[in-house]
Symmetry: C2
Subunit: 284 residues, 2 copies
């Protein structure tokens, strides 16, 4: 497995692979890898000739006062995990190589970036789309793998990829959960034991929402209420938002015509956690 | 010569060329081709295996009240001119294929886009960078050719290309002028005979600025004054800006250390014209 730190080395590596006719599967991460990342890597491994994982804690997607400085960094461990999954190349650039002092270009997906998480994290998705555009330029993948846990991010990246004609196949991957239901996240390591227990209310609320939907509920008001009630029982949970939204426009909806995205963001202490389920009619 | 109207057809064409190991030279234009464009095409022809010219009047780079509707369109004539220069493919998309209704992504180069022309044309360069990013995604060129007449545009596109790691070689090409000095522009066709004559003051002013620089003047104030005086003699010229700026940051400067960009934008009647020269010390 190669570890590449300079963007130009990464591009040269990818160009070589492309010249040899190999397809490139790409998993962009901020490191602190967990089973969620591993599931993306395994899928990329299955579907491509070579697999590239980027490990880069992207400063432009963190707001002032957010957890950029304390975001978990454990490159040695991450690299070992990549190697064990037969990753071909890990791209691990320095922040100053990704953002030289005179870096001035930003990519923004309007409207979609100002909903849900975009409200409490202004500029966050602009940082995400900018770094993903850069990474796509550097790595030049055929396919890129993103987890559904970050559903809004995924919708925004799909739109960017289409609008800017980037030609990458964006692959949506299911959220991976702990046995008790908590969605895997690098930020789960921030939680105390007591917080960890309360955090289960998030997936419980989404599960209950899904059960009501499956039982026929199509009005969003009762779905929002049931989720709110479950979260309200936890003393240390502060709700950022609870939403049932159109899965493409991310607009709030009052009645579910076909599919919808049920999404939750909360603060538990200083830790911000998100999770979601897609509500879709069962077939048959 | 192929004429391609759908973005996906253009991309398929370019992918085929790349698979055959051919280098792709790209000249993005808004049509109404003149000798300036032809010089870009000829250079692309010389330096690449295949040449693609795009002809697309890009709506997002025109502000409200600007000349989007009346911008000259003469596709048949343009296509013939391309064919005569042995262009391999002309990309001529419909606006609705470039900007479907749910298009939401924009590329912006901060700071550089808010100087010079960016002041009187807010949003203009955001439209330019967005469409060039899209065209680069669609055409996938090895090299792209831009004229120095649009000096600010060129600086901004170079920065975007570097910042987003697009990997295109941006080729700067000298401004082509009419025998009397007027910089070639599709907008010159808007001018009446009387306006056309007054417009010569622009290149005359820049030439005089250059002569003073060559004679040793390094303070910008006297250079600005000499240009202003020449333009002020023309009754129908309204100055938008006269600037001597750093060629990389586009900041106004008071003393020229090495090189500088002397740039002028004026309105003559309803027509906005721009021109510039690079002031650089003569070698030897």
């Amino acid at each position: 497995m190669e570890i590449l730190r300079k963007p130009e080395e990464m591009t040269a590596w990818s160009k070589r692979a492309a010249r040899e006719g190999k397809t490139i599967g790409f998993v962009p991460t901020m490191g602190a890898l967990h089973e969620g990342h591993m599931s993306l890597i395994r899928r990329a491994r299955k579907e491509n000739d070579v697999v590239v994982v980027s490990i880069f804690v992207n400063p432009t997607q963190f707001g002032p006062g957010e957890d950029y400085d304390r975001y978990p960094r454990c490159f040695e461990k991450d690299a070992k995990m990549c190697e064990a999954e037969r990753v071909d190349a890990v791209f691990h650039p320095a922040a100053e190589d990704m953002y030289p002092e005179d870096h001035r270009t930003f990519v923004e997906v309007c409207e979609l970036s100002n909903r849900l998480c975009g409200i409490s994290r202004p500029g966050h998705f602009r940082g995400v789309t900018t770094v993903v555009a850069k990474l796509f330029g550097i790595v030049r993948p055929d396919r890129a793998y993103f987890g559904m846990k970050d559903a809004q991010q995924l919708v925004i990246i799909e739109r960017m990829n289409r609008d800017l004609c980037m030609g990458v196949q964006i692959v949506r991957c299911e959220t991976v959960r702990e046995p008790d239901g908590l969605a895997m996240s690098s930020r789960n390591t921030y939680l105390s034991a007591a917080e960890r227990k309360q955090a289960l209310a998030i997936s419980r609320a989404l599960k209950e929402c899904e059960a009501r939907f499956d039982a026929g509920e199509r009005k969003t008001m009762p779905l929002l209420k049931v989720m709110g009630d479950i979260l309200a029982r936890e003393p240390d949970i502060e709700v950022d938002y609870i939403a049932v939204a159109d899965p493409i426009t991310l607009d709030d909806i009052s009645t579910i015509e076909n599919e919808a995205l049920a999404a939750i963001a909360v603060y538990i202490g200083k830790t911000r956690l998100i999770d979601n389920v897609t509500l879709r009619p069962k077939k048959g």
